[in-house]
Symmetry: none
Subunit: 190 residues, 4 copies
DNA sequence: AATGAATGAGTCTTCATTCAT
DNA sequence: AATGAATGAAGACTCATTCAT
């Protein structure tokens, strides 16, 4: 019998890769990265431990791919037409976009926050995290300063902090936390 | 040399216990709870591993005692004279008190936040965390509702979230983060 | 296109088999047998892992075939016209033949020596090694005893040892080692 | 009960360390470094796997310590009174010393030779091996050149090669190999 | 003849905890 | 009160080999 075609192999690979990524994200979010053994990921995904290493070089690479993949989605919401003249509605779009992701993919945010407090693991991702954070900060800062606010720097840092605070409280208590009301309170800070 | 009295022994014991607690907090904050071996704590504290287990039943108990000890300090700032009629200056006092602790003891906050995202460890502390959070929430909620704000529940949750956001951003970047300016922005939310 | 004939298939098969054998020898020599994964051999040879097992039952069989194949070449140089009356020039021919192989195929010698010290692997080959060694030893011993040397046994063992010593030092440092000068020193021992 | 004294601990440590080193040397010699699992060393030494790591940082460090320890012994035999004027009897002493060690500690030589052909492992030790080899080579070379031999370089390399050849053949067949007769043949090369 | 996904046994290593002294 | 040797369970990772296609 002839071997599978390249396309068939690709389908298998991309489906299984997605399965592993999803399973791992869910477990990392639930138990934390360090407390999730590769063996558990494999078991939950219904594959052998060895196969994981056929798809990802290491547990850390698996983590990295999860994060990077989501980051792209994340950044799609921060498209401004003119970086030197950021409009209020663009910031609002960004906020709304992220609140949407927060609702749709709380696991990712849980993982994201948990990693921020795990220095041994965080090192892997620090550069990417920083690059993104700085882009966001620059955009918001530009909005505040061109809109005529004084102390745009502090306002920017404050807004980012508020945003993370909301995120954390939401994922800790998605049912009880009043996300929609707080959304308006954030907008009021603009 | 006369043998030590019971009191002297107890002084030694409590001093050594404090030493272990401090050392452990510092290491947990720096490396994370799971990434800090008991052997390292013992080494840094200048004692043997065995002795650690003489003072604390387990690594988890050590963690627990660290957290509980700090909580008491923490709650000292939330003393209101009348829980049914909370004054603005009392809330401000609470905020300022906590910002002070944040500056003085960033390690504890780092540990506190990191544990929040480590469910396997968090379980130990969840009850205590909740009890405290609810006390604080009730107090703030009372302030908002007696002061005549509408939607005091959402406002309360928002304030708590903002507070944590600030805390996180400060401990991630204690030098760059404009803590004093943001303090005023928090007060403005009251 | 007409289908390939049986002969064409066999040509392909034996060419591919040779490719695998060569690739494997080169990698075994460079990294050692145990440190060379089958996957690497396949990759370097440009074929799939599965196909390797189509040609060779196991990694060990692959090794075995490499060694045995070279042994035949090796023994071609030890053809004496009369085993009961070995001539000096025949021994010299053998020495020169082997020095030539040593220069032309250092990888094989490297592998050969490395296996001699890997009992778990060596077991496979021990019989064949011994058979060959004994043939050589018998021939040399005959030369020494018929030529009238006393203690031909010790002289034989010495010569064989010297020969291996030279081989090892040459493959460890093919550029620096004075192979041609030492050749004469070996001849002087005859 | 009071803890053991420092001396008592030291006795325990050095005895157990020696036990592990001895056991490991014997197994490495018998099976090869790569084919000897740490678990087997532990089992043979009658200790737990974990304890091995209390004494040695890694399997590789264990190997390193074995080799380095023996090297010192080894070099004791190559003490010449004047490096610029090496006497024949000093070379003979060196040869005899090493033949003695060869007889007494064939395991070490087995390991030494096997490592020389295991590039992945050899890297660890290459520097130390080279340093020693160069010292020996320089000494012998000095002997040959001051004694008036021409082509002392080639003679030195030859002698070293012969010596290793003898070593290898002896450890492969300690009973059958005529070590004492060959000793005289080596001396004749001086 | 050929592919590479999949498995599982085996290897090194870490670390919380126990225990004899 | 104090030490550190010792254990054992668990975890990340590798790799020869099998097998469906």
């Amino acid at each position: 019998m002839s071997p599978r075609t390249k396309e068939q192999y690709e389908v298998i690979r991309s489906e299984k890769e997605a399965l592993i990524l999803d399973t791992a994200l869910s477990l990392f979010a639930k138990n934390g990265f360090l407390s999730t053994p590769v063996s558990l990921i494999a078991k939950e995904a219904g594959i052998s431990k060895g196969l994981m290493y056929n798809y990802f070089k290491s547990k850390e690479e698996l983590l990295y791919k999860i994060i990077i993949g989501k980051f792209e989605l994340f950044m799609n919401y921060l498209k401004v037409s003119d970086i030197n003249n950021v409009q209020k509605h663009e910031i609002i779009n960004f906020i709304d976009g992220n609140l949407l992701l927060l609702k749709q993919d709380p696991d990712f945010y849980k993982l994201y926050f948990s990693l921020s407090f795990q220095p041994s693991v965080f090192a892997l991702l620090e550069k990417d995290f920083m690059r993104i954070l700085e882009t966001i900060a620059a955009t918001i800062n530009n909005y505040y300063s061109t809109t005529g606010f004084e102390n745009s720097f502090a306002k920017t840092r404050f807004l980012l902090a508020v945003f993370d605070g909301i995120g954390i409280h939401y994922i800790m208590d998605p049912i009880g936390f009043p996300l929609d009301e707080t959304r308006n309170m954030i907008i009021n800070l603009l």
